[in-house]
């Protein structure tokens, strides 16, 4: 049976979401998207320049992908809401990744403002995917607010440090009924795979691909890793044991 992720009425067969920041040149974006198989692509609206086709980052996203504008640069719910509305008015659909960041040193998200923005935008019919610090209480409030998924960070944005928040993300996966998409911090395909093995619905990767020596090849590696991790999750990982299971049991001589 086909393994499909459903978000906002869309069916996705790829569980890798790709970011478009930091690529050089932008012309690598379509190749990376193709190579990874990603279907959802996030774009910072602050960098969308509709007046200049050749420098407009949005124009590098293949037409058959779901464009997910993000609210990068927003410092509070009001700014995030305004950016989301601008994106929709500009024709970029109704998916939006909420990014509200009030900390420029670590780029950690403000969960409180994110919840407020999610509530407003979900009520307006947006498919809201909020980037968040992995906190169970905040995630539950995001569910109540109408989020279509929750996107906890694995480590600070751009850090490539991997799944530092593993235990907290695991709790979200266990407790939250919406898709849990690990966003930010994933630096290696093996880490993406690990997130998928844990049961994450998808991962969002940007820096690790965009700043790789060969971004297109790295995009492919992430696509494969996500698929491998998902397949392993569905297959059901074997139980881990602390001790070896002896083929010649010491108590085999006992009988009923």
């Amino acid at each position: 049976m086909e393994d499909v992720l459903r978000i906002g009425g869309q069916e996705l067969t790829s569980r890798l979401f790709l970011g478009t920041g930091k690529f050089s040149p932008n012309s690598l974006i379509p190749e990376a998207v193709r190579s990874s198989g990603a279907q959802v692509i996030t774009v910072a609206l602050r960098r969308v320049d509709q007046g200049s086709e050749e420098e407009n980052i949005a124009s590098f996203v293949p037409g058959d992908c779901i464009m997910m504008p993000n609210t990068s640069g927003a410092r509070n719910a009001g700014e995030a809401v305004r950016i989301a509305r601008l994106a929709r008015a500009a024709g970029y659909g109704n998916w939006v990744k909420i990014e509200v960041i009030t900390d420029n040193r670590y780029l950690l998200p403000d969960n409180f403002e994110t919840i407020k923005a999610t509530e407003i935008l979900a009520a307006e019919g947006f498919v809201v995917l909020p980037y968040m610090s992995p906190d169970l209480v905040a995630a539950k409030k995001l569910v109540e607010a109408g989020a279509a998924a929750v996107m906890p960070l694995g480590a600070p944005i751009g850090s490539n440090r991997g799944l530092k928040t593993r235990e907290l993300v695991r709790i979200l996966i266990e407790e939250i009924q919406l898709p849990v998409i690990v966003d930010a911090g994933i630096g290696r395909p093996s880490e993406a795979s690990e997130a998928m093995e844990m049961g994450a619905a998808a991962v969002l990767v940007n820096t690790a691909v965009a700043t790789a020596g060969d971004p297109v090849a790295m995009a492919r590696a992430f696509g494969l890793a996500v698929e491998a991790g998902r397949t392993a999750y569905l297959a059901g990982l074997g139980a881990t044991r602390q001790y070896a299971s002896a083929s010649s049991p010491l108590t085999g001589f006992l009988s009923d």
Binding site: K22, F23, R47, V48, D49, D103, N104, T207, T211
Partner: protein, 366 residues
Amino acid sequence: MSFYIARKNYEEFDFNGFFKCVSDEDVERVLEKNRLTEIDYLTLLSPRAEGHLEKMAQKAHRLTVQHFGKVMLLYTPLYLANYCVNHCIYCGFRVHSGLERKKLSLDEVEAEAEMIAATGLKHILILTGESRKKSPVKYIRECIEVLKKYFTSISIEIYPLEEQEYAELISAGVDGLTIYQEAYNEKVYAEIHPAGPKRNYRYRLEAPERACRAGIRTVNVGALLGLHEWRSEAFFAGLHANYLQRLYPAVEVSISPPRIRPYPGEFQTFVTVNDKNLVQYVLAYRLFMPRGGVTISTRERAELREHLVKLGATKMSAGSCTAVGGRSNTQSTGQFEISDRRSVAEMAGMLYAQGYQPVYKDWQVV
């Protein structure tokens, strides 16, 4: 509390004594750290650290690509007026310099804006001399109204304002502030600003804080290198950036390391700051503030700017002109001589050749 007070912690600090004690092992130890203290930063600014520049450069490059990607934001300055009431002994705009004074009419602002916008740039930095009478906040606000039609981001580099005045300009469409302390050493500051409102060291030093409280989005600070011994000046500029980032985490903070340039009239070099010094400063700052911006202007020559692309720079000016109305009137005299005269297209070409992406738009005020 303000940075003026925080800076006092180092009032009696013996910089030369500290530098004499720094060993190669100290520098190596700092280079292994992920998070640098203020003293670690000073260690990287020491003469001893000059022997470790390549290692610093490799790490600075890695951090810059990690946090910013291989991209460079391009912007250009637009001089609105050069009337000035100050007596700064190092500046071509100073009150008695004999410079022909000019202030752009709103039509002239529009003409300049059209020419700049045609190059593709979306970020602009507007400048005036320091004359509240000739270039009042009201005039700057009127100019912003014109410029908003052409640019998505407008920054100001003008005389220091009150918090309410910053708020007024922010609501008009300004999102960035550049203000250089010129010299962080208070005694030197007094010597080079013999008269005029700019003599008020503390009022200028605290201007970025007033702008942050008013809700500005980006702040760019720095020392004008060449006015005083550069290592302590670089140290205080970095501390200033760090202080602002800590207190106003939502603000994007950056530094500029401008070196004093020849200007019309008599010119005197105060303290030599060579390329190696400048590079050391940028690298040390990048390691101290991995997410801090670094702005490199056309004061620096093309070849050096090309190298700085990979050494921590995140923002560069292009197609610059330091004369009021100088793009439409080539007879005008500028504040200082530009060193890198390349056009926006040429700068973009240079960036592409290095595997970098020029960014024209990174914010939009609506």
